[in-house]
Structures are given as C-alpha cells and as structure tokens.
Subunit: 428 residues, 2 copies
C-alpha cells in the first residue's frame, strides 16, 4: 500500500481538526483509496498542545527545515494563516519538493503567483480548496466542473462570522455590538474581529474565486469592500417589510463592459436561495452561460468542515500525479486588458430622516430625478419623532453607484430637506 507522509504547520482549530480526521480515518482511507496516510511531523510552538492532541513528542518539529529535510514527508499542510512566516515556510517546502495543501486565503490571494511558480518549478502539487468557504467544494467546481462556461456572475455569503451576526440581528432584533460580544464569547468571532466584520476575509476569498471564475487574476486591491459595523437593526426590520433579507454579499460580475468585484452588505429578496443561508452556513450562487444557476451550500468554517477540504486535497494529491498549474494564468497582477467597473449598477434602499413638513417629498424626488435615480417603491414609516423628522424609505430601480453618491451628498447638503440615515444596495 502506498504510504503518504503528511506534515501539519500549525495545530490551531483547522490544524487540529485535520490531525483528528487523518488519525481517526486512517483505516478508512486504506480501504477506500489504498493509501496509508500518516502524520509524520507537525510544526507547533506549543508542544504540550500537540501532545494533548495525540502527537508523539518526537514528531513535533523544531523548525521548518526539519520538515523540509524529512524524507517521510510528502505533503505539507499549511494552516497557520497570515502572510508570514506562512509564505516563507510554504516556499521552503515547495523548494524541498513537498506538495502543499493550504487553507490560507490571505496568502493565496496575495501570493498565488509566486507560490504557483515555485510549485511548477519543483513539480509539486499546490492545493487550496480549504482557502475558500470551508467544506463547500467551490474551488474544484470552478476549476474542473464549470470551466466550460463563461461565468457571468457569482454571489456569495462567504464569511461565517458576519452571517452569524446578521442572522442573529435579524432574528432577535439585537444590535450589532451586542451580537458581536456574544459571538466573541461563543468563539464565533475573534477578539479582534476586523478581518471578518470589515469584509477583508470575504474579499480575500472573492479574489481567489473570481480569479478562477473569470480566468484572469483579480487582485485584492480591485475589490470594493464595506463591512457590517454600521448596520442597524432598524434597517434590517424596514427591509423585511419590503421582503428583503440583509446579508454580507461578495459579488463578482463579468459583463460585456468589464468585471466588477465587491464585498458589502446588501438586501436580497427573501425568495432568493441565498436568503435562507443562515447562521454560520455559507453559500456561493454561480451563474454561467451554459449551466445557468448553481448554488453550493454548506459549512464555511470550522475544524472538521475545513479539515474535510484539506483532507480531500491530501487524498487528491496522493492519488493524482499530474498537477495542474496556471489556474490564475500565473500573473501577479491583473492583466492590463482586464477592465474593472467601479461605478457599478445596482438598486438601492435609501432611508432618510425627513422634516415632516410640506414640500419635502417633492424636493427629495427632484434630487433623485436630477441624479438619474428612478424610485421603484417608497414608504413613510412610523410617526414624527421628537426631532420633527419622519423616516422615509425609498427603493430605487437599478441605477449607478455614482448617481446615488451624488444624490446623498445633495440631500445631506440641503439644510431643510432631510438627512440620509442609511444607504444599502439591493440585489434585484
């Protein structure tokens, strides 16, 4: 039986999950794939943590060189996260002829070019299914199933923490700050939640996924990014009245005029399949010119779901000998011919605090009209507040981002009309 030696760099949540799966399923893989996968080494500063997991003390490596020079190690699993030292370690392993399986979205998003060049040069495999959307098989679907399509669009709920927070805010009417605190207590959000709540994590993943989907490098820097920290329960509740659910959406579109890539909160119709993706579940909704609509749904994070993706890559790597490269056309930057659209089209939800006096609606309408915004629905909500203002909500027809920015600044600049309380994009 073929022996496959694995080293794991980092025994955090995902590394620990991967170790556990490999250990408990060793016999299963002997039967199912006729391979004997053995964890030959781990790199983990906290030796006692490794030992507590069941790792033999002598298998805890002192440094990356020990792993690179270990002839029993065939495949290295990098689950450390962050750019350094992960990048140096991965390159060291590739140069030493080890194949690499990584869950590191930031590293792969930023340095895939360098890593792929090194993998190819050294005839090693480089696999990253676990970098995006945990156990959901979206990378391979784009690479090996949907690659015959022109992918027209991709809308994803691809960050578990923010989806958990928004689901809770919507279900319980509790504020962002309160839900965040609870999520941190439960371990669903990090002590420093910035990467999740500000949309960085989703943007790394969108960079990787849209590069695959659109067959051209989509750098992180080209992705418009807006987080969920400013979202209020008030707007989630008003949205419900219009039949909308609020989600942090990662959107990639490949149209005739160029590519648009953006991560921001958005309202989506409650009948859309993505609307019922709740809690820490994730999903990617892909539209191709042949396949029409496909949705891939599941656990986007967690020790065992992400471990499932890593182990899938390990088995694939161990049972295939021809590795594919150039999945991102091996460029570090976007091709100069790729056109990016920043002034994208969308429908919008706009909430105003309007003075409750005659003529206000006419003035607002006139601003909208001047900016090329056509209103699809309008609603005056509730009673006049102590400030003499009343909430006015508009749902616009599809218009351009810059039109809305202009309207917002005109309304805000007017002393006597209204103040803009919230602007949220709406998926039509």
């Amino acid at each position: 039986m073929k022996k496959v030696g694995v080293a794991i760099l980092g025994l955090g949540v995902v590394g620990g999950g991967t170790y556990k799966i490999l250990k408990e399923h060793r016999e299963l893989y002997q039967k199912s794939h006729k391979i004997d996968i053995v964890v030959e080494a781990v790199l983990e500063r906290d030796i006692e943590k490794a030992v507590a997991l069941g790792v033999e003390r002598e298998k805890v490596a002192a440094n990356i060189q020990e792993i690179c020079s270990n002839p029993d190690v065939d495949i290295v699993v990098e689950v450390m996260g962050g750019v350094e030292p992960a990048k140096t370690f991965v390159l060291d392993c590739l140069h030493a002829g080890k194949s690499v399986v990584t869950s590191n979205k930031e590293l792969f998003c930023k340095y895939n070019h360098e890593l792929e060049v090194a993998a190819k040069k050294n005839h090693c495999g480089l696999f990253y299914e676990a970098s995006c959307v945990g156990g959901v098989p979206v990378i391979r679907a784009l690479l090996d199933n949907l690659q015959g399509n022109k992918i027209l669009s991709m809308i994803g709920i691809i960050n578990g923490t923010t989806n958990y927070i928004l689901t809770k805010m919507s279900a319980e009417g509790v504020s962002y700050q309160e839900v965040l605190k609870e999520a941190q207590k439960l371990g669903y959000a990090e002590a420093n939640p910035t990467a999740d709540v500000e949309g960085y994590d989703a943007a790394y993943k969108l960079s990787i996924l849209s590069s695959l989907a659109f067959h051209t490098k989509i750098p992180f820097s080209k992705i418009y990014r807006e987080g969920i920290t400013e979202i209020s329960v008030t707007d989630i509740e008003y949205g419900k009245k219009f039949g909308y659910v609020l989600k942090l959406l990662a959107t990639g579109k490949n149209g005739d005029n160029g590519i648009e890539v953006r991560v921001h909160p958005a309202f989506i119709k409650n009948s859309h399949p993505l609307a019922s993706v709740n809690d820490s579940y994730n999903a990617v909704y892909i539209t191709g010119d042949c396949v029409e609509d496909v949705m891939l749904y599941g656990r986007g994070a967690g020790a065992l779901p992400t471990g499932s993706a890593i182990v899938g890559d390990i088995i694939y790597c161990a049972t295939h000998s021809n590795y594919q490269y150039s999945t991102f056309k091996n460029t570090a930057e976007a091709s100069p011919s790729t056109k990016f659209i920043e002034n994208f089209e969308s429908a919008y939800y706009i909430r105003l605090n309007a003075a409750d006096k005659p003529g206000v609606l006419a003035k607002v309408s006139s601003v909208f009209s001047k900016c090329g915004i056509s209103v699809a629905q309008m609603s005056q909500e509730g009673q006049t507040g102590e400030d003499g203002c009343v909430p006015l909500i508009f749902i616009t027809h599809t218009t351009r981002e810059n039109n809305v920015k202009k309207a917002v600044s005109l309304i805000d600049a007017s002393e006597d009309i209204a103040k803009v309380a919230a602007v949220i994009r709406v998926v039509e």
Copy 2:
C-alpha cells in the same frame, strides 16, 4: 496549442447542446485553457438534423468504426442514452484508445465495471459527471472533495420531470394526470414518462452517487423504488397543514447496521433547504462525518446545463493525463460484505378514511400500538363524507417500514374501522 478532437454520438437535446457550447466557446477555451477543441465527427442517423446544427456534411460518420479509426478524434462524447447500442459503441471507442465522456446514467449504473475495466486497460479516460444531476457538480464533489469523509447520508431531488410535476401540483392544486399532460406538451416530460415518474431515472442516479459516496458498488437492484403516479393533491394539501412539502426523494444512508437506498415520494419540513428546490431544479443534500451538511443545487437537466457538465469533463480530460479508475472498486456487483437494510426507519404520514362512529380512534390506536408505532400528531380533517367516513391523519414518530406495512394490512382487513387512503414517508 494542443488540438483536441471530439466526436459526439447522438445529436439529441444534450448532444446538440454540447455541440453548440463547443462551437461557440472555441475561442474562449483557446484563451482559458490553451486548447483548441474541435468537433471532428458526429454519429447521427438524421444527417439533416446534424447539418441544420452547423455540422459539415463530411463530418457525419456513417458508423462507429469511422469514429474509432479517425486519428483526429481524441475524446468521444456518448449522449445516446439507453444500454444498446451505446454500450457497444463506448467499448469500441475505449478499445480504439479514445477517452469517453458520457451522460448515460442507465449505462453507467449497470455496466460501469465493464467500462472502467476497458478504460483502464486501454489507458483512456472515462468521465460521467453529466450522468447525474445535469450541471450540478456532484460526481466530482464526491470523488475529489468529500472523499475524506465517511458520508452518512445523501438526500437528493434528482429528477427534474417529477419535481416539476410535484411543484405544479402543490402550487396550483391540479391533479397528477393534468400536470403530466401539460408537462408533456411543454417537453418537460417524455411521451412515455415511465422512466421519470416511476423513479427509474432517479434510481439509476442514486446507484451511481451512493456507490461513490459509500465507496462500494450499490447496484440498481438494491434500490427500493416507488414513483409519484399515485400521489394525490389531497395529501399534498394536508401535508402543508403539518408544515410539509412533498418531493420525490432519492435517499442513501450509510449507518452502523448497513446501507439503505431508496427512491420514493416523501414529505419534508418546509424549513429544510431541499423543500425550496422547485420546478425542474435539482439538489443533493449530503451529510459527512467531517464536512457536516453540504447542498449542491442547480439545473438537473437540459441541453446547456448538461452540456456544461460534458464540456467540463472534456476540458478536464484534455488537460489531465493521469486518469483515475476504480471509483466503484471495479466490482460488477455489491461486495458480499455490504449489508443492505430493507426494513428501514422513517416517520410516516398515514391518511385513513375512518367510519365516523364511536370507538374507531381507539381501535386504530390499538393497531398502531400493537405494531410498535407511536403517533406524534393526529388530526381529523373536514366533515363526514357521503360514505359516512371522515379523514383521519396521523404523523408517526420514527418507526420501521415493516411495522407500518403490518398496521396497514391490519386496518385494511378490519371491516369496521377504516381504510388506508395514503401512506407517505416523512423525513424528520
């Protein structure tokens, strides 16, 4: 640039779709994958049909031997359907050293062993993503993504025709016969709809999918099969009151006591992700011991969605040189060690036409109790009919299939209690 010659056997719906995709996307694949895919031959009796699609007259082959001996053909796409002559043709092509991409679920379900042996012997690729659930990437997900899991269960809506019919019946309250007629008119159902409405098509697919999921051959003959022809709008409507949606489900479970595989109509909670899979959309809901729940959703049939899966396989075949075999352990029959469970566990919806007189409920309850059936919910619906009977509906707790069969025969045998009007399994 690498040239890839393709032959298409059969220019029906899927063959025509595949031809169209390859022709229109030729330049796209030159750019995205650096391969030039050209349809070098088609096998189609109706030459004018081929010509109308745009095939040059000289590329319409007179017989399979012309294709086998054509050195320009690298990959043969078999989209004829049915066992013969498809099986002979596929074997001929494999023996001639051509790789094969097929959408033929009946052929692959019944003869995968023979085909895989021939492919391996001749160092050819054999791909069948299009055989199950059209454009939804479920085969490769099971083979290359989720293969590190012990798959515990798989529930699929994997037949578009029946899902269309059941969705219509539920939405419009129209009878099976009426909706079938309409579906036939619209081309959603065949003139002879047996393969779809009696569950054969779903059972072929379940055989293929569960063989992959459970890493052991699951023959068609082991699959319990029941179609939708007896389903009445009455039960769909009553089911709604209990929060259920009726679907034709293909279920595979791999438990400690053995494997169960079955295709039958079933009620599923309207909050389950599968409940909102409507019309001709399909989905497979997979639960693995690591990945937890994953759902893959999309178009399960149609010229372009199924063509998308075929073209995905063609590109994969053209860009990978090491083919994998033994995906079904290369056995023709189930391994003797595989235990199949026929007396499976389920909850049940049981509708009785009960005599509207004292003591009836006590007698029914006594039968249920004697048969080991515990009732979770009970409801008496509507008024006493002209026959002096009233509908009684029971939702049972989980029990065994044989318990319900016994109860049904006891109730039906009793002259004075009630008649069993419907029994439908319920997914808990």
